[in-house]
Amino acid sequence: MNAHDEDRIKQLLKGAMPPISNAEPPCDLWPAMLRRLDAGPAAPPWFDWALAGGLVVFALALPASIPVFLYYL
């Protein structure tokens, strides 16, 4: 590979990967990142609350199921 080929490859590479224009983000992203980090875990969805409530009602309605539950834990 001579110098001419190297220059040709450089030109091709530069043509394939044009320089990024406007590389800066439109606003400062760090405050949003801090807010995300400070936010606690998401609250359980209503479906999970309903499921937990249903389990409590079920155990109260059928106490005989409690030893079976414990057997499988």
């Binding site: 999970d48 249903g54 059928l62 199921s65 030893p67 079976v68 539950f69 414990l70 499988y72 834990l73």
Partner: protein, 148 residues
């Protein structure tokens, strides 16, 4: 860097049944030694003590190993475990004499009678309980141990 992720998954998976076991042992000891229940309920400890914690641990390791391919949520993955556990537990309980099958229902520990009509609701309730425990408790442990 996350060394030994499968060991962490094993420990996180075995955590919940290991916590429940002393409570069960206490109940069994009170029933057997204090209340003098005539049935040898210590036979019933074999399944929850020997198999359930190991299966939970292996199930969590399986989730860790397969999550990249399946993208299955941890709660759903945990809710699938009773499909394996309940038949195995019932077969073992029957062979140990803890569970007896009758004409209209089953009897656990010679005292707890459960009609056949209640088997499906109990099964669904166990699935729901597993879903919640795996989603919130095992999920919390996995996050704490850095594997989720």
């Amino acid at each position: 860097m996350n060394p030994h992720p499968y060991l962490r998954a094993f420990l996180a998976g075995a955590f919940v049944p290991t916590l429940v076991l002393p409570l069960m042992l206490t109940g069994f000891i009170v029933a057997r030694l204090v209340l003098q229940v005539p049935f040898p309920i210590e036979r019933g400890i074999v399944f929850p003590m020997a198999l359930v914690p190991s299966l939970w641990a292996l199930w969590n390791m399986l989730w860790l190993g397969s999550h990249a391919r399946t993208h299955l949520a941890l709660g759903i993955h945990g809710a699938l475990l009773p499909l394996l556990l309940m038949p195995a537990g019932a077969i073992l309980a029957t062979s140990l004499g803890i569970l007896s099958l009758g004409l209209s229902g089953v009897t656990w520990f010679h005292t707890v009678y459960l009609p056949y009509a209640w088997i499906a609701p109990v099964f669904l309730a166990v699935l729901a309980a597993y879903y919640l425990v795996w989603k919130y408790v095992v999920g919390f442990l996995n996050r704490t141990l850095g594997i989720a």
